[in-house]
Structure formats: structure tokens, C-alpha cells
């Protein structure tokens, strides 16, 4: 009985999801940023659903101070960030998933690397869960209308160029 209801529920879901994907402009699976209340590094509450970049692309990158590939990715982007911003106006929001064990490391680490990204703190993984993130690093690209158009769950040196190609595609489309 229990298994049956489970089956029905998932079938239901599957059908609904499918019927959505084919309809109109914004399908059910078109992902936007969910409304989660996170703190920034000065203790202000920020609603993630309201994050935007004036119609220009935005990167949301999940990281942690103990995650080596995450730091490699963000440091690689940091080296090119000025050029990226000049050329496309892109903005990066780095969401730290450090829990209480390492949370106090976030600000000193970011400052010491002189990152110019906006930093948000997600110590109990609320935003991470809402975004469907399995593992970090996981990087999302949001277009000017708030739709998530690309995401990548890994970092290997060179991935930053792939990401930038997607950003360029977005800005070219607009011109």
C-alpha cells in the first residue's frame, strides 16, 4: 500500500514535470533563485531570490574554506575578474557553506585573497539544499532575467574559460 502510494506520487510528479517542460516560456523546471534568507559577512540579511545584476549575468558559486577545488576555482576567477567585469558586467556571488567549525575563517580568508565577490553565508546548507546542490564546488550562471542557464558541478583548471564562454554567449545574445 505504502509502496503503491509512493509510486503514484512519483508518477504524478513525473507527468506534471513533463507537461510543464513543454509549455510556454517558463517551464516548471526552469530554475530561478529561490527565496532564502542568508547573512552576508557584516550580519545583514539578504534574500537570495532578490539577488540581481541589473539585467547582466550573475554567477552563484558554492564553496567552503576547506574545499581545495572551490578555492582554486574562485582564485582563478579572481585573477580575471576585472577583465570579465569590464567586458560583460558579470558579478559573482560566492556562497560559503562553511559550518560553525570553519565559519570564522571565511572573512579572513576572503580578505587575505582580496576577493571582490559578494560573500553570503549558508552555514546550515539551506540555500544549498534549495538549489539542489549535491557537492561543492557547484557553480550556477544566472541570466539577466533571473533564469539559471548553466551550472557545473566540479572544478578542473580551465573550467573558468568554459564558464566565461557561457557568459559571453549571454551578453552577445543581448546585443
Amino acid at each position: 500500500m505504502k509502496k503503491l502510494s509512493l509510486l503514484i506520487a512519483s508518477a504524478f510528479l513525473f507527468i506534471t514535470v513533463n507537461s510543464f517542460a513543454q509549455e510556454g516560456d517558463k517551464g516548471l523546471l526552469d530554475k530561478t533563485l529561490p527565496d532564502i534568507q542568508l547573512k552576508n559577512t557584516v550580519g545583514e540579511t539578504i534574500n537570495t531570490g532578490k539577488l540581481e545584476n541589473d539585467g547582466k549575468p550573475m554567477i552563484i558559486s558554492f564553496w567552503a574554506t576547506w574545499c581545495t577545488p572551490c578555492k582554486k576555482e574562485l582564485n582563478a576567477i579572481h585573477d580575471m575578474y576585472i577583465d570579465w567585469q569590464d567586458e560583460t558586467g558579470v558579478r559573482l556571488v560566492a556562497v560559503s557553506t562553511d559550518d560553525q567549525r570553519t565559519a570564522s575563517r571565511v572573512v579572513p580568508y576572503v580578505d587575505s585573497k582580496a576577493w571582490e565577490f559578494q560573500i553570503l553565508l549558508d552555514p546550515n546548507g539551506e540555500f544549498k539544499r534549495a538549489m539542489g546542490v549535491n557537492n561543492i564546488p557547484h557553480t550556477f550562471l544566472v541570466d539577466g532575467s533571473g533564469k539559471i542557464v548553466y551550472s557545473h558541478n566540479n572544478y578542473a583548471p580551465g573550467d573558468e574559460y568554459e564558464l566565461y564562454d557561457h557568459i559571453l554567449k549571454l551578453t552577445e545574445k543581448k546585443d
Binding site: 507537461s19 530554475k31 567549525r101 587575505s112 539542489g132 549535491n134
Partner: protein, 551 residues
């Protein structure tokens, strides 16, 4: 339980009915499959089923403030290292809720944390098989700008048996208030000072099921916290007290528990300094006083140690928090030697130093009769430590980009661990080890990178399992492929027959948010730790396959 299931059911109906509306669905899935061989040399046993599988499928739905979601879980049967009471397939997590600027209500399962989590943290760490989610109701209010009130009420997940969640015996109730004074007082907002404060109260009810003692059925815990910052300096702290909570963890004593965590830091471009201190006494807090291991913890005591990532430094002698009592300190320095200088080279050099230590707290028993009817067995003071060392770790890491193509990273760790307390192996006393790691990366071109690690671990007096070496080679093709091979060798084990090699190979393919990883080889038994919580994973030999996807 039935009501929430009904609610979740109607939520899905709601989704169906609203088929035309603008809601959005997101979620992910993860599958871990293992096919195991038996391997007598490392005591790896082939299970009767030969193959093991854990699968999770998460779906979240949101539509103008309304939210609902669920997770299907399957253990067919559970992979190695998971608690053996996890089995079957079914609904492991479901909720419905509504959220706007003022309120946020969730009915069903939810995760939450108060302050630093010392007296309340409900979270999931799937890699560990840890999940103490709540089942009940959570209500959050944001009545004024900068003020958040959180309330929680429910039972915690204890297990997942026969495809069904099993919840702990006790009921957990709590409230938390947090104020950001800068958003509250405009004058403060204009200054360089930042002040945030908060307070929380958590209470557990559990029936007195003990014939020997009169147990308190309601146990409260409360705490206050404050963060002050001025320009680039910050200091924050949280102090918590737990009322009488006789439990299996503390040997059914009636002492109050107390915990204090302080962090202070300073940072500027190229430099970060963090100092932390922690004093914990009798702070194990669970929703079932008879529970053990990782089960139904209400509070979370974070360890004050660096999270190491290199294999030998991370997995051989890790530290786990001691909720029954510890006094711990940590210092961290992150420094970047400027580029263009002699020491910094062309691109600059990154140096990080870390020191952490933990001691047994001093328990004064003079003038106290532990056998008297109060069962208050000792007195303790904050930061009053004995000479008994639990843990010490001194480590340094230097990273330098030598040229456009080459990056070199060198690390040294000196770790002392009290095995009488942490009991990782059969060895007695303190095990001290020196660990060295050399990590070299070479970028062949924009897409192709090769990286190699050489690691060595030597225990002082060749104690415990003696010396280890690890070699690793990793080849990545951005953005789709990775390949790696790792060989770990216990070449210096004092027992000759135990000088075992552990080879492993991995390959993976990434398509955006989808990832497949295949691994084959031999893995040593050991503790797998995340965030100071550890899971024992038996030795294994075989094939592993991991699939993750998010949408």
C-alpha cells in the same frame, strides 16, 4: 505523523491542480553503488548481496511563497559504513510550507540551527550517513528589520528502517531571537561598529523510563551570543548552559553542562588572523538520553581543528569533538607574500600556519561526595584544564605559482593524538606523527592539467601502524573528464604481514550538473570524518559507482 503525510499528499495534488501556474521545481539525485569482493588481507568481507546501493532523490517545489518537497531514499542494502538499521525504500523527508517577508512556516521535516549550533543544530551530512532532521513544525518571524525569531517543535529522525523514518523518543522544543543592532539603530549603521546579538532556549521532554533514578523529564538548555566588529577586527562568542541531563553519555550525573566558544579575527589584504577558544563541559545533548554514537544529537560541538584535505593528514589520525568535556584553542594565520618580491616571486606566495590543541577539562572533586543523593559528581570552571593532552596539531602550508604552467605546494603537519581518548586503534597513549606533502600541478594547456601528490607519514617511535606513503596522479580535461590513480602503502608497519598496499583508480565524466564517477580498488578501514563527526568505514575491495545530478 499521519497529518503531515496527508498534508504532503495534498501538496502534490496542489502542484497538479496548479499545472498552469508559474511555480518552479528544483532538486537533485544521488546514487552510490558498490560491488564488493572479499579480500582476506585487509579483512574485507563480501556481503551476501555482493552489491550495495544507496539512492536519494530530492524534489522541491515553490510557487509564490508556497513550498513543498520530499526526498525518496533507498538502501538496497545500505553501502559500507552506514548504520545497519538503514534499509528499504521510501519517503525519508517531506514538508509543506509558506513563506513571505514576515513569516516562514514549515510543517513536516525541516533543518534548522540556533546561533553556533551548540544547543540546537539539525542538519544532514549524507557522506557520513548523518541526518538528525526534525519532524514537526518550524515557525520563523521577521517582525522588524534585523530581527529574526525562530521557533521549532518536533521529534528528531533516529533511523530509516523498512523504508520508514523512525523518530527519537524525546520531543524537542526551542526558540531563538537574533538582532542585528546595525539594522535597528541608524546611528550605529553609520559608524564602523557592527553589533549583533542573540539568545536561544531549547527544551527536551522525555519520559522518565529509569527505575534506579528520578530523571528530569524536561531538560532545558539556554544560551546567549554576541558579535562585535570594528572595521577589520571582529570578536564573537556564545555561552550556553544545559540543565540537569543525566544520560548514558555522562554516566547519569546531575551536573549542569556548560559551553563557551570565542572567535576573534583580523584581516586585511594579504593577511588574515583567527584565534579561537572553546571550553566544553558535559554538553552532550540528545533527544534520547539513552542514545549513543551519532544518534539524535540536539546540539553540535564543533571541533577547533583545521579540516585537512590531504589523504594521510585527514584520514589516519583525525580529531572528533568531545562533548563530555574539552578545553581547546586554535590559531590561524593566512599570509600572502606580495608578488614581485624576492620571497614572493612573480605571482606571490601563499603561506598558511595553523595550530590547534585540546585538553581534558579539570574536574574538581574535593569536598564532593559523588555517592550523595545530588549526584553532582564534580565542579568545573570555564577554561580550567588539566595537563592531559587530547590533541595537538601544528601545520604549515606554502603555495607558489612558479610560472604560468607550474604550481607547487608543500605542507608539513605535526599531529599528536591521545588514543586513550579517541580510540582510533588499539595503540595506547599519545601517537605523534610527522606528515609531509608535496603537491605539483602542471598545466599542459588551457584544458589539460596534470597534478601529482607525494605524501609521507612517520609516527614517532614507529608507534601504532608505523609509516605510510601515498602517491597520487590526477589528469583533468576541462570541463568534462578526470582520471586519477592513488597508491597508499603502509610500508613501515611494525607487523610485517600488515605492510599492505592500497591501490585505487578513478575516472569521472561531468556534463554540467550531472556527474558520474567510477572507482576500483582497495580501501583501508578507518574513520571518515566531516565536521568533527566520524563514521567508521570497514575495509573494502571492489567497484564503486557514483551518480549525481541536479535540476
Amino acid at each position: 505523523m499521519k497529518i503531515t503525510r496527508l498534508l504532503a499528499g495534498s501538496a502534490f495534488l496542489f502542484i497538479g491542480i496548479n499545472a498552469m501556474s508559474q511555480g518552479s521545481i528544483s532538486g537533485n539525485m544521488e546514487s552510490n553503488f558498490q560491488y564488493l569482493n572479499s579480500d582476506e588481507k585487509i579483512n574485507a568481507i563480501q556481503p551476501d548481496e555482493k552489491a550495495l546501493l544507496n539512492t536519494y532523490f530530492n524534489v522541491n517545489y515553490r510557487n509564490s511563497g508556497f513550498k513543498a518537497g520530499m526526498r525518496l531514499e533507498a538502501y538496497l542494502p545500505r553501502i559500507l559504513g552506514y548504520p545497519d538499521r538503514f534499509d528499504g525504500a521510501g519517503l525519508g523527508y517531506r514538508y509543506v510550507g509558506y513563506e513571505n517577508e514576515l513569516v516562514d512556516v514549515t510543517v513536516g521535516n525541516f533543518y534548522e540551527q540556533f546561533g553556533s549550533g551548540l544547543i540546537f543544530r539539525s542538519y544532514e551530512d549524507r557522506a557520513l550517513g548523518f541526518d538528525n532532521m526534525m519532524n514537526g513544525i518550524s515557525l520563523k518571524l521577521r517582525p522588524y528589520k534585523g530581527v529574526t525569531i525562530k521557533t521549532v517543535y518536533g521529534r528528531q529522525r533516529y533511523s530509516f528502517t523498512d523504508g520508514k523514518n523512525q523518530y527519537g523518543a524525546g520531543i524537542v522544543r526551542g526558540a531563538d531571537l537574533e538582532m542585528n543592532f546595525n539594522q535597528w539603530f541608524p546611528k550605529l549603521a553609520e559608524s564602523d561598529f557592527r553589533v549583533t546579538g542573540g539568545g536561544s532556549f531549547v527544551s527536551r521532554y522525555q519520559e522518565d523510563d529509569n527505575s534506579q533514578f528520578i530523571l528530569p523529564e524536561n531538560t532545558g538548555a539556554y544560551g546567549g551570543r554576541l558579535e562585535l566588529a570594528y572595521k577589520k577586527f571582529f570578536i564573537n562568542g556564545e555561552y550556553t548552559i544545559k540543565e540537569q541531563d543525566p544520560s548514558q553519555d555522562n554516566g547519569y550525573i546531575y551536573n549542569y553542562g556548560k559551553g563557551l566558544i570565542i572567535n576573534a579575527g583580523y584581516s586585511q589584504k594579504g593577511l588574515g588572523i583567527i584565534l579561537s577558544a572553546k571550553s566544553i563541559d558535559n554538553m552532550s545533548f540528545r533527544s534520547d538520553r539513552n542514545a549513543a554514537l551519532q544518534d539524535v544529537t540536539i546540539g553540535f560541538v564543533p571541533p577547533l581543528t583545521k579540516t585537512h584535505t590531504y589523504n594521510l593528514a585527514a584520514t589516519l589520525y583525525p580529531y572528533a569533538s568531545q562533548p563530555n568535556g574539552e578545553v581547546a584553542f586554535q590559531a590561524d594565520i593566512i599570509y600572502k607574500v606580495e608578488r614581485g618580491t624576492k620571497l614572493g616571486g612573480k605571482y606571490g606566495t601563499d603561506i598558511s600556519l595553523n595550530f590547534s590543541t585540546a585538553y581534558e577539562p579539570l574536574k574538581r572533586t574535593s569536598g564532593i561526595n559523588p555517592m550523595d543523593s545530588t549526584r553532582v559528581t564534580y565542579e568545573s570552571k570555564i577554561f580550567d584544564k588539566s595537563d592531559l593532552l587530547y590533541w595537538r596539531d601544528i601545520n604549515v602550508n606554502i603555495k607558489r605559482k612558479v610560472s604560468k604552467k607550474w604550481t607547487i605546494e608543500a605542507s608539513y603537519f605535526n599531529i599528536s593524538m591521545n588514543n586513550d581518548v579517541l580510540k582510533l586503534t588499539n595503540e595506547k597513549g599519545i601517537i605523534q606523527s610527522h606528515i609531509g606533502v608535496l603537491d605539483v600541478e602542471y598545466k599542459i594547456n588551457r584544458k589539460h592539467t596534470i597534478r601529482a601528490e607525494v605524501q609521507g607519514l612517520w609516527t614517532v617511535h614507529n608507534k601504532d601502524r608505523g609509516s605510510w606513503a601515498t602517491g597520487l596522479i590526477e589528469y583533468t580535461i576541462s570541463p568534462d573528464w578526470f582520471f586519477s590513480a592513488i597508491l597508499q602503502s603502509n610500508y613501515g608497519n611494525p607487523i610485517k604481514e600488515d605492510r599492505i598496499n592500497y591501490p585505487m583508480v578513478f575516472a569521472g565524466r561531468i556534463w554540467g550538473a550531472t556527474r558520474v564517477q567510477v572507482g576500483y580498488g582497495r580501501q583501508k578501514e578507518g574513520l571518515f570524518c566531516v565536521g568533527g563527526i566520524c563514521r567508521f568505514v570497514p575495509a573494502s575491495n571492489g567497484l564503486s559507482l557514483t551518480f549525481t545530478h541536479s535540476f
